[in-house]
């Protein structure tokens, strides 16, 4: 399975000249914790709710500062063709919980979050547990049949 099936379509993004206050309102309205920052169609940074709290409040920059001044610029991206394991490894290596997915032209396709990966893995683990349960039921039936034959 590749990541394109996991990432949210038509991702919302922020522009570098957007005010921090507006970005925070967007995160609240959309129930998201992270906004990719896009300029001229190109991904230039990422902004999280934590960036807003620490840089605007702890850093004293206030809520009128521009997104471009407080976003993280060291963005790690993944192609949509990448797999779940590759995404998990990148998250581990870079300690990011959300990764932007880009197409061959570097355009933002979507975001994949550690939570999305976890839900997919949990489903797969559930399916593995079902295999074990089925097997136990079959073995119990076979054992009962053997005992009845004795």
């Amino acid at each position: 399975m590749d990541l394109s099936s996991l990432c949210k379509s038509a991702p919302v993004s922020a522009a570098p000249d957007m005010h921090a206050r507006h970005a925070a309102q967007e995160m609240g309205r959309l129930h998201i914790g992270c906004l990719p920052v896009v300029e001229d169609g190109r991904l230039v940074g990422m902004l999280t709710d934590r960036d807003l709290a620490l840089r605007c409040l702890a850093g004293g920059l206030g809520s009128e500062v521009r997104v471009g001044e407080i976003m993280s610029r060291d963005v790690v991206t993944l192609p949509a063709t990448a797999g779940l394991a590759e995404a998990a490894e990148l998250m581990r290596d870079h300690v990011f919980r959300r990764l932007p997915i880009v197409d061959a032209d570097g355009r933002l396709v979507g975001l994949v979050a550690a939570d999305d990966l976890l839900r997919t893995l949990a489903r797969e683990i559930g399916q593995m547990a079902e295999v074990v349960e089925e097997e136990m039921v079959r073995e119990a039936a076979a054992r009962a049949a053997t005992e009845a034959g004795q």
Binding site: A24, A53, L54, C56, L57, G60, G62, I125
Partner: protein
């Protein structure tokens, strides 16, 4: 399974009358995303997260140096007792839609339990199970080699 080994006792707190800017600076210094708000009697008045600060202070255009924690924290807060099970704690998180819970013992704050900590604990158990499976394969391979040797010896 007991909740006890997963409780983080190294908790960072803030007072209700401290400012949002102070809370944010403490979160940065401690590398945490959440502070427990303790009142003057040592009780839990609420919880404040980095997201609360982003949405309720930055999003409303408030001055962090003038805004008090008590005006932007989440509270009263749902907590669990130290004696409850892991399942009960997870059910509380699910029902309340929260990922962190203060843990109380005899009504006093004993620590914090976070979804992330529980997840890491579970992932370690899964990893151990995977390792046991891998080693069993390896041992089965070793036995196959031995039976081959035994046949050749005959």
């Amino acid at each position: 399974m007991s909740l006890e080994p997963h409780v983080d006792k190294d908790i960072w707190c803030v007072r209700p009358d401290e400012t949002a800017a102070v809370a944010a600076a403490r979160m940065e210094k401690a590398a945490v995303g959440c502070l427990v708000v303790r009142d003057e009697f040592g009780g839990v008045a609420g919880i404040i997260t980095d997201r609360d600060l982003a949405l309720r202070v930055v999003g409303r255009g408030l001055d962090g140096a003038q805004t008090l924690v008590q005006d932007v924290m989440s509270g009263p807060v749902v907590s669990v007792n130290a004696g409850c099970s892991l399942t009960e704690a997870l059910e509380t998180m699910r029902d309340q839609g929260v990922r962190r819970l203060p843990v109380l013992r005899d009504g006093l704050l004993a620590g914090l339990i976070s979804y992330d900590d529980l997840f890491v604990g579970l992932a370690k158990e899964m990893g151990d199970l995977g390792e046991a499976t891998r080693r069993e394969f390896w041992r089965a391979g070793e036995h196959a080699d031995l039976s081959g040797l035994a046949k050749r010896a005959r």
